[in-house]
Subunit: 477 residues, 2 copies
């Protein structure tokens, strides 16, 4: 059985896209619906999302953010209030034209993002400096009518959070934009075991309507980058478009400054592609729905079930998300099943172990087996969970560094890409023309201008003119 | 200031509908959007919803339910698979006809409820008895294009949870339907301090496509009833319409049995109308975002701010959701503000109290003031929060019993209704004709056939024929 299950997945290095689709389906994460790009998040995927949500939500609230809920539907006239935003999103929104049996007098779009709704609300509710800052966030789903779709990475409907804040000064708003990027980066490393590169988007790649867009970029197993989260500084562009004003302490009426920022269920796609292997998913322990699965061996023998149950209770009491499989499937079948599902630790307990007051714990990331005394169980499991986290992060860091290089020519960029070395750090003169040329010649796009800059040469990788910006180029998901 | 704020609300007994609208707006619960019936849940309302969600979600998970996420959009052909459901909902759904610039080949409706999506998924994933039961729930928003709308009570878009379960036997499914009703009832009493009457809907009032619908009915301050939650037993109707089958232990292929159940943000409307008074909201402590607000008196005097801060820290550490208002508004303004917001307890701490190691705690429900020693602070506050809960529940029970009576004639029902005594318990012969006549003559509708039956007479209140069912009639929100 074990062999059979594993055989069903395409090996990662043979066809990464197919491997991804196989894992997503076989680990029980998603099911397809009748509408292209609108997928069903099955319990396992949703439980991962709940853990992501809970942690991030705590981080947002810790920094003074409040949750709200804005409507799903945006009148066409409201969407059109900010010209860049409408240009960016109108081609890909879903339009509601009928309510019940009646045709609507004005079309409504399903929110692709909610800047316009937040701005209208801010226009109605912000009056004085006392009302600022407004630090709002919402958890919801949004719809973007994409042509090509892929589970988690590009849905027509996806779950996300969108933060929208308003500040009295531009300094404060910029600070918020950077702080939320740091929050996302911290979350990715500390909870998802995914290292990220923080940076600013080029003019060409920034969000419609934003003055500056920042992003965290991560590296997948196949050499492609994944943008894991973005934060936007809007300046007072939206405030002016939506006539949001406030009376400041000096009694003058001013336009406030805004930000927005979001991460989505695409983070789950990132986890899969950053950590998974040929046996299936590997979930980072801090967001894994089940952190450890107990598999009783020779469950019919005396004492086995009692000990297994006792182990489970002890671990649950210690706050460890422990599960147990007491079904009539063979241990071999179960091993393969929970490997596929990426459960970070497997705990085997059989008559021989029990006789010695021991059990066996197996790490999903390395396959390493370890005999653990039942006396120190909780402490050992906790430290093994940390070890899996650290191991995954270390491996992902290695993957990131092995697939990142300093590029000094366009040819080099093409050559490295053929070997799945996907992140090129290259100097750029700042012209949009060069950015486009690099894209045309290599298919790579600028991912961001990393905060951590190294002047690897004096001249632009494209035109040879003087350059003082080091840009990260890569293929994107 | 105090007087002024309170003046702005219409007295409850003068114009209940206006009082309700005033409270909803002035307590900062909602704001209107540009689309009728699609409201903005501001931080205070959303925090109440989060507390409701957290508690209910825990209760669902405790009983083995798992969360999933189904798509927002349903193809027209899928909606039409079950004839009663489509007849019930098609007249009030919002239709998406265009994706981006293209017209869709098939219209998609925004989910008014998700039975069809769950059924399609169950059709795809259920094969054997091993896959049963499926105990799924989802938290999401749904859209129903209602003609008349009112905050929380009737939105075109509202937040809710919908449970959808599949069972091998009808007994199990019926058990689930009743168990979830009991869960809702327990939640309403234990967390919202709202007593409910549990019962079964008549044929006429049941959910489209359901074999049986059960409901919990609660009584508002003005004598109208509010249906706080419903659970539905579907039998195998949907299984047959969607071809959901499973191989049972006896190797026979069978249709499974299904249920669904839901509560929504209308619960917030129920809380407002059950507990509020002429000073504003009164929130039940167990779901109040802020359970106690600290108001420093003469905050500039030595020791006041330190003590207030210390009190706050102590209460937060004890798990009490304590807030503090240190703004430069007057204490009077603050008193009125937090009365409007319905914060269950107000804690005043000033120089004189501090000198005696005391503070003053004021109950929102009764206005009762109490001096409390700072030594026993946590314990006293906890017991006062319980007292507010019990007090609210007691008052709501009294309101329910005072507005419920045994009706022996149609005339009596009309007369009592004029006096806002809204729940009539009356005998009914079981004919839909009589049910309709009662409605025509009194405007009352059957709310449910209560589980707790009393044979108050031998004959139907309408036709005088023998009757063995006692029905609860009422006006509904």
């Amino acid at each position: 059985m074990n062999g059979k299950l594993v055989e069903q997945i395409t090996p990662r290095d043979k066809d990464f896209a197919q491997w991804y689709t196989d894992v997503v389906k076989k680990a029980g994460l998603i099911d397809y619906s009748g509408v292209k790009g609108c997928v069903i998040l099955r319990p396992y995927a949703y439980a991962i999302w709940e853990n992501i949500q809970k942690t991030l939500d705590g981080m947002f609230k810790q920094t003074g953010h409040e949750n709200v809920y804005m409507p799903l539907l945006i009148p066409e006239s409201l969407l059109q209030k900010e010209k860049d935003l409408v240009a960016g999103f109108a081609p890909e929104v879903a339009w509601v034209t009928h309510g019940g049996e009646e045709e609507l007098t004005e079309r409504l779009c399903i929110r692709p993002t909610s800047e316009t709704l937040f701005c209208e609300h801010y226009h109605n509710t912000i009056q004085s400096w006392r009302d600022l800052p407004k630090l709002y966030n919402q958890w919801c789903s949004v719809v973007r009518w994409e042509k090509s779709t892929r589970p988690f990475l590009r849905h027509r409907e996806f779950l996300w959070q969108e933060g929208h804040t308003v500040h009295a000064t531009s300094e404060e708003a910029i600070e918020e934009t950077i702080a939320m990027l740091e929050t996302y980066a911290e979350f990715c490393e500390k909870y998802l075991a995914v290292p990220v590169i923080k940076g600013k988007k080029t003019e060409k790649e920034k969000f419609p309507g934003a003055r500056d867009t920042y992003a965290i970029e991560s590296m997948m197993h196949d050499g492609r980058g994944l943008q894991a989260g973005t934060t936007h500084y809007f300046g007072d562009t939206f405030a002016k478009a939506f006539d949001i004003t406030f009376t400041d302490k000096d009694n003058k009426i001013k336009f406030p400054f805004q930000t927005s920022w979001g991460v989505s269920t695409r983070l789950i796609g990132g986890i899969i592609m950053a950590h998974g292997d040929d046996s299936g998913l590997i979930l980072p322990p801090r967001i894994a729905p089940t952190q450890l699965v107990i598999i009783p061996i020779s469950a019919h023998k005396e004492g086995v079930m009692d000990t297994a149950q006792n182990v489970k209770t002890r671990l649950l009491t210690a706050g460890i998300r422990a599960g147990m499989d007491i079904s009539d499937q063979t241990p071999g079948w179960k091993f393969a099943e929970y490997e596929m599902k990426g459960v970070p630790l497997r705990l085997e307990v059989g008559p021989r172990d029990i006789a010695e007051n021991m059990c066996v714990v197996v790490r999903r990331d390395t396959g390493e087996k370890q005999r653990v005394s039942l006396d120190n169980l909780e402490r050992e499991v906790e430290s093994l969970l940390d070890a899996v986290h650290d191991g995954l992060l270390e491996r992902a860091r290695l993957n990131l560094s092995e697939r990142t290089y300093d590029a000094f020519s366009i040819d080099e960029m093409k050559e490295k890409l053929d070997n799945q070395i996907g992140f090129a750090r290259a100097m750029w003169c700042g012209s949009e023309d060069c950015e486009q040329k690099i894209n045309d010649k290599t298919t790579l796009r600028s991912r961001c201008i990393p905060f951590e800059q190294t002047k690897i040469s004096e001249t632009c990788v494209c035109c040879g003119e003087p350059a003082d910006k080091m840009v990260l180029f890569g293929l994107q998901y």
